[in-house]
Every structure is written in structure tokens, then in C-alpha cells.
Amino acid sequence: AISLARIGSSGINAEYGEVGRLCYIRLGDNAGKTCVIVDLVDQKRLLVDGPHCGLARQVIRLKNLAITDLKVKIARGCKTNVVRAAVTKEDIANKFLQTSLSKKAESKKAKAALGDFDRFKLRVAKTAHNRKIRSAVRKLKKSS
């Protein structure tokens, strides 16, 4: 596989934008969907395809993506049906749902959908929670 520009966190465990890597689209019209890298266009753009998400094959900018550590085995520039078959074979969609990135995105979405009463209940729960922690800390401080 041809390595592309490093877009993950720097370090030993840096993720590479390679062919077959699953990416999460952070920004734009298709935000929230996942896609597989099929080919590279240049330093900043990738050709992606997401048949499992209903995402059409398209060129997308790196900055709109967040790469995951999941990967699918496909050849560079392969057709959409090949991508689809590979994705279903490795059940990548479900594997993605278990990643922390997916869970964080879900909770963000849920938080945005809260109503005024829900936000109030959240606040009440948070203060109660923090109060418990603080009282426990105070007790420990006193005893030490």
C-alpha cells in the first residue's frame, strides 16, 4: 500500500493515510459518515468511498477527516463494489461503532439534541456528582 501523508498523531503509533484505511468525516455535508481511502490525489486530498454509508465516491480534503485505526484490505483505485465487499467482509461498520471516536461523536450529537429540561437535569446530576467527589476529597484531606 502506498503511504500517504501522516495525518494521525505524531509518534510511534501514528496512523497513516493509506489505501484501505477507514476515516471518519468530521466536517462538511457528509459529517458523521465513515469512508475508506481508495487513492490519493495530492498532499491534501484523498479519493474516498463509503458504500456502507451511502457516501458517493469523491475527493475529500484531509482536514475534513479523522482517521481511525481500522483498515480494510483493498487495492489502490479499486471499484466501489470491491470496497463494499471488503467492508462487509470485515464488518468494519460495526467495528467502528465500538471505537471511542464513534462513541464521542454519538454523545456530542445527543448533547446537542437536549431540551431545556434535559439540560437542567444534566446540571442537577453534575452538581450532585461533583459534590460527592468534593466531600470525599475533603474527608481524605481531613484524615491525613
Binding site: 431540551g115 431545556d116 429540561f117 437542567f120 437535569k121 442537577v124
Partner: protein
Amino acid sequence: KEIGGDKNGGSRIVPTQRESRYYPTEDVRRRLANRKKPGMAKLRSSITPGTVLILLAGAHRGKRVVFLRQLNSGLLLVTGPYKINGVPLRRIPQCYAIATSTHIDVSDVTIPEQCIINEAYFKGEPKKKKRSEDMFEETQDDKKPREQRIKDQKTVDDQILPKISGVSHLKKYLSSLFSLRKG
């Protein structure tokens, strides 16, 4: 009209309404009559009976109240309930309320007829103008609500309060004030 005096002919016909002594030198243009009457304001689709509203203006600004129904004048009839946040059965204009997505089932709540039909029910007592002698005297204004209002408030609130206590945290929510926060 009878007129006194001997030689004045006893009685005379006098106009009952005299014309004023003053009239302008040029004819004053008469304005066209405005026959428009405000209709009942269209109720926003987000406001239905039982919706919790946030009041934006007036003495009770920031308070969360329960919407009961729209009156014929277009104003919204709301109640705190009074025991929870001190808002009585009150009329508010629709534009000064934010509707939340929280609802209470008030379909079986009966509101006293006078509140709905008679708008004068809600009108306050006219303030007594102080005379110049009394201007510096401090008068005690006993602002007590009418007995009828207290009674009607109790009738309505007694129906609503058990529904509120049925939902967890709702009572606390209604007694808290709305404010803008970060995030």
C-alpha cells in the same frame, strides 16, 4: 331653554351643543377611519396546552410556567403554578415567551369560566392619583389579590400540581430561573 327677564320673550330655542369658540383658519384634513381590528394572534405550533414556557419580560422574567390556553384577545393564559414559582394565573403576550419542548398533560384541567371569557378579570385596580397634599405622605399600599383570584388559582393549581410531582425534577425545574450559559 327658559330665559329670565321681562322683555326677553319667556323662552328661546338654544342649541344643546354649542360650537366651540375656536376654529382653525384652514380646514383641517380629516383622517380616514381605521376599521382594522386586531385578530387573535396565531399561536406558534410549538405552544400547545401544557407546554412549559419561559417568560422573557415583566416581573416574572426568566421563570418557567405552564401554558394553559390562548384567550380571545390572543394573549396566553399561564400559571406558575403559584406555589412553585409565584406566577399566578396570568396573561402574557406570545412574543414574550419561549416555548420549551417539555409538556404536561393538562387536557383534563378545567379552568374557571371567568378567566377565559372575561378579560377584565385580569385587569389590575386603577392606581389612585395622589393629591398634591398627600404627595409626601407614605401610604401603605395593601396589594392583596381578590378573593376570587385566590380561589381560582387554587382550583387550577390543585389540578396541575399532582401532574408536576409525577415527573422527577420537574418541580425543581419550574422553580428555577432560566439564564443564558456558556456552551
